[in-house]
């Protein structure tokens, strides 16, 4: 009833192949985007913007990157934060070494650097798979963070290892307030999400999924494994790299290796598990969940008068329990729940 597609006929191939075939979806997405761009920046408090919405969008972008690699191409990675770090440091270096370089170009170049690192560390995936690969992506994590702490050339010779990120200025317009940063991040993330959505619907995405489902079979039907896997690593790392750059420039304001720890990698992995492995929407839902959960828990803990240490341990436990819960009850995550909800709405009020 609420979600009726009766009467929406497709008469062209374009109409049939569009991203959101149902009118309600299009309207809802448009409304959400309008709300996010035109209303939220003006009504939301700076705290909400800079402490919740900006990290949410950035994490969603990183989760999108990991989802491309793990959810679509089936290569489990525990080194997401390392690719983010490469993106952040590369962007910083480009702006630092080439003054006058537009910052958006620096972000893209940072993403490309991350993509190259991704390809380099994706090479083992041609020989090894599954757990072995997951464990070897940890090598990326430790190696990259070590490089960034030990090689002064990468950090501009900063003694403390903490560098202040440059100001974001595009065409003479400074993105320095939470509102402006939020809008910039939102536009970048929305654009890249659209790209990702189209990519996974295309030839490339289908070959990723074929490799994920069974790589030997995929090879037999003529998918070139090497190209497909490395492309997945490259695209995924590019997304993570841009997310890392935004994380440093638009959220933290500093560029430091410690910000990109193994813990961050795990958090992004949790986002895609909870949100939905192999789903673009899931990346956003998962990111929202993981960003909001600690905030919610803190409020509850504060309300109950629990000390901070108890609250942080409870947070660990709730995270862990939720992961297990989702894997048992709904392995496809929140995205699948949303889908089920839509199916129910389609039939409502008649269950059959």
């Amino acid at each position: 009833m609420f979600y009726r597609e009766a009467g929406q006929f497709k008469t062209t191939y374009e109409a049939d192949g569009q991203i959101l075939p149902i009118r309600q979806d299009r309207i809802a997405l448009l409304a959400t985007l309008t709300l996010a761009v035109l209303v939220l920046p003006f009504v939301a408090t700076p705290y909400l913007l800079s402490a919740i919405l900006i990290p949410f969008l950035i994490f969603a972008l990183a989760a999108l990157g990991l989802n491309i690699l793990t959810g679509y191409a089936g290569q489990l990675s525990l080194g997401t934060a390392a690719f983010m770090a490469v993106g952040a440091f590369a962007s910083w270096n480009f702006v630092y070494r080439f003054p006058g370089l537009p910052i958006l170009v620096a972000f893209v170049l940072g993403g490309l650097c991350a993509a190259m690192v991704g390809i380099a560390f994706g090479l083992p995936s041609l020989r090894i798979r599954g757990f072995y690969l997951a464990a070897s992506t940890l090598a990326t994590q430790f190696f990259v963070v070590w490089c960034l702490t030990k090689i002064p050339a990468l950090t501009g010779g900063s003694a403390s290892g903490v560098i202040t990120a440059q100001k974001i200025v595009i065409l003479g317009y400074a993105f320095d307030t939470p509102q402006r940063k939020y809008v910039l991040v939102l536009l970048i993330v929305a654009l890249m999400a659209l790209l990702a959505k189209n990519m996974v619907r295309s030839n490339v995405g289908r070959s990723w999924m074929a490799v994920r489902d069974m790589d030997v079979a995929a090879e037999v039907i003529g998918i070139r494994l090497m190209r497909t896997k490395l492309l997945a690593f490259a695209v995924s790392s590019f997304y993570c790299g841009v997310a890392g750059a935004l994380y440093a420039f638009a959220y933290l304001g500093t560029v430091e290796p410690e910000a990109y720890s193994l813990d961050l990698s795990f958090r992004i992995l949790f986002m895609i598990i909870i949100g939905g492995v192999g789903s673009i929407l899931g990346s956003f839902l998962g990111a929202a969940f993981i960003v909001l959960l600690p905030v919610g828990l803190n409020i509850v803990a504060h309300g109950l008068g629990l000390p901070t240490s108890v609250a942080s341990n409870l947070e660990l436990m709730v995270f862990g329990a939720l992961i297990i819960f989702f894997l048992i009850v709904e392995p496809h995550g929140l995205a699948r729940l949303w889908q089920i909800g839509k199916e129910k709405l389609r039939l409502w009020p008649f269950p059959h």
């Binding site: 489990l76 083992p124 020989r127 090894i128 599954g130 757990f131 072995y132 997951a134 464990a135 070897s136 940890l138 090598a139 430790f142 190696f143 070590w146 702490t149 030990k150 090689i151 069974m214 030997v216 079979a217 037999v220 193994l262 795990f266 992995l269 949790f270 598990i273 240490s309 108890v310 341990n313 409870l314 947070e315 660990l316 436990m317 709730v318 995270f319 862990g320 329990a321 939720l322 992961i323 297990i324 894997l327 048992i328 392995p331």
Partner: protein
Amino acid sequence: MNFFFEVLIGGLLSGVMYALVAIGFVLIYKASGVFNFAQGAMVFFAALTCVGLMDRFGMPLWLAIPATIAAMVILGLCIERVVLRPLVNQPEITLFMATIGLAFFLEGLAQLIWDSQVHQLALPIEDVPLQSVLDRFNIVVSQFDVMAAAVCGVLVLLLAVLFAKTKVGRALRAVADDHQAALAVGIPLQRIWAILWAVAGVVALVAGLLWGARNGVQFALTFIALKALPVLILGGFTSVPGAIVGGLIIGASEKLAEVYIGPLVGGGIEGWFPYVLALLFLLVRPEGLFGEKIIRRI
């Protein structure tokens, strides 16, 4: 030259401790195909429980250890019941991610029950150089490390006996070979898995006590799991001897690399060197040193 041997022996002995954690992994992976990322958290949980019992309730060590073993057995049973049983027949990668969740849960639980302080753990062996070795070869070898290695040896021996000679061990091997065939001949699969998790818990306790006595019982213990991973990659996920040999190789090479290559590149390479070593090795032999050859069919 003496210095080289000192580093080598120190590395080998710490490798034994890595192997101990890796064995916990292997036990579970072999019999149930679950790659247990939570092994490090179990080490932490076990050590913290033991120390907590001693500190808070004033238990002596000889009483705290059996009590902790009991706790680990109960924990193992609970994990089997709550986490693994509902996930039977899921893809291995799902089980792996579930154990990541389990690791977080256990870390939180351990610190919630006890606390997040660093605890000192005094075992009745002191960390002093062995005098006889020092006199004869002029090499410093810690008495504690040698004892730890001996404990590991005994433990491995016990496990070998358990696997080879007892009825439970036969059942364990049968389950490891083929779940369904084992079920068909009447081996209670779930009970075997529960036993396995309990055994892995006990192994975790031994590892936790040894590491804890050396570095203090603290959150950093969970990172041992990360040290054990390259050991596993090198040795193969399904082989106890592989875990031991892998542990020795990783332990020795990481210490040697830190001492001889480290200064050239700024030090601190212990964190990633084992991984890179294991990774290079994988490119030559994708199933690890003693791993089973993986045959892939459509």
